[in-house]
Symmetry: C2
Amino acid sequence: MDDDQLSRVFAALADPTRRDIVARLAAGDATVGELANPYDVSIQAVSKHIKVLADAGLISQTKDAQRRPCHLEAEVFELMTKWIERYRQQAQERYERLDAVLAELRGDERPTTNHTQPEQIQQGAAS
Amino acid sequence: MDDDQLSRVFAALADPTRRDIVARLAAGDATVGELANPYDVSIQAVSKHIKVLADAGLISQTKDAQRRPCHLEAEVFELMTKWIERYRQQAQERYERLDAVLAELRGDERPTTNHTQPEQIQQGAAS
DNA sequence: GTTGTTCTCAACCATTCAGTTGAACAAGGA
DNA sequence: TCCTTGTTCAACTGAATGGTTGAGAACAAC
């Protein structure tokens, strides 16, 4: 089931430590110990993080004696990008279409940026 | 803090119900009740999901009498895409570079697909 | 064999999270 | 005014999550 994998991928990347591990693996393969070094937490904790990433298919591990070098798998990123792009584009198109409609209704030529008339509720998202 | 927002966005999309809500909002704005309709869970549960999405900045809500129409915010998707693309490209480049090196080492011309020699460990990721 | 290294597994603890029910609030309609 | 509708808040429950420590497996080196 692809849906489940997508959930695992997003969940895996929801953790800053795991995103950091991914970032470092992008620069080159590394063993569990090497990856664990920069962090304050135990090796076991990092090992768990790596397992989460591997279960999501974001990384793979090979065998080298006692070592378990981790390798970033680029393909899964495309799965994510595809999902995101689909809805981003749809939303973007709707946005532009609505702007055009609003502009036409007012006999205006320049589409406005403020597409929703009622007042906005700001309840979170300190961006 | 941008890092925290990225965590919230990924965490928000790690839930299939919330991804579904996003998908439906991509087709057009909808109230909480409308969004809750298709699901078996209570309206309160969906209201919570919507709050998570709003806190992540993925959607915004406006006021219409008692109603709270939800609107998909396309900009945040770009934040994600940017993060993903950075590491996907790095990994891809490394992958291609390694293939080239391996090919050269063997005096080969055609780059192989099997870039890691040791046996792969398959511990998860039923893709 | 014994020792040291690298990593994972198991059990546990604290926190977070997705769901529930019940109450409250805000706005429109009788 | 009272009632209904739409939504959120509060308190609770059970499951999942991120961390810990301790033990053990697998391998290299002595």
